[in-house]
Subunit: 135 residues, 2 copies
């Protein structure tokens, strides 16, 4: 089974622009407790490099594009997000990295929980231990 | 009292880019039931031209800039949004228009309720009647 699970959000285009809609029950299967956004991203920068124990997320590229790497400790997969109509589901215990931000990239992440530092796994070695795949 | 109520969201800058955080209890005083975004906006286009009976919203310009016009039927005020760190509170029974979208504008709106067509007031004349200020 692929780690990359994407789904489509409602897009309402008209001649003036594009309206995209995100809500619980329509792709997002959790209550949206927190939203965060990445913008003004430097070329060749990368972000992420962590996993969560409980938090689940949906990532959407609202403008431009970027590449997500998802890793469950056994398999590593990559997907390019480049549409406000596509959501990427990121489950708990998935290591994620974001690469290849385009100039105008704006990335929105919908999250199932409020911030909790103890929910983060910030070292890949610790992540492999947590998922039972440490060498 | 001004119709324009803005507040600051958490911004976490680092050399790779800007992380902005939106959550209930930190500026947003409602549960986030729905998020929508406007992108790919045509130059010289305008949006909005409606009010809501119950829905409350917070608007944030994640990229670029745009100008909001807020109108309570008596007073008409204008504010430019140009930072992912600034939220504009839009109460119920406020007529809103969006103008002057910059090239790269991405506008995010956090909403207190799911979509309901019956909550919309789409004619300015009807709006003035609703707020008791019809001529």
């Amino acid at each position: 089974m692929s780690l990359v699970k994407t789904f489509n959000f409602q897009l309402i285009p008209d001649p003036t622009g594009l309206l995209s809609v995100y809500e619980t029950g329509k792709g997002v299967d959790f209550e949206i407790k927190r939203v965060y956004c990445l913008s003004r991203l430097e070329a060749n920068s990368t972000r992420g490099y962590h996993a969560h124990k409980a938090l689940r997320q949906v990532a959407v590229c609202l403008s431009g594009s970027c590449r997500f790497v998802l890793d469950d400790g056994k398999v590593r997969e990559s997907v390019v997000l480049d549409s406000p109509g596509v959501g990427l589901q990121i489950e708990s215990f998935i290591w994620r990295e974001m690469h290849d931000f385009s100039d105008n990239c704006v990335l929105m992440v919908l999250a199932s929980e409020l911030y909790s530092e103890s929910d983060y796994i910030r070292s890949y070695e610790d992540f492999l231990k947590e998922v039972g795949n440490a060498s």
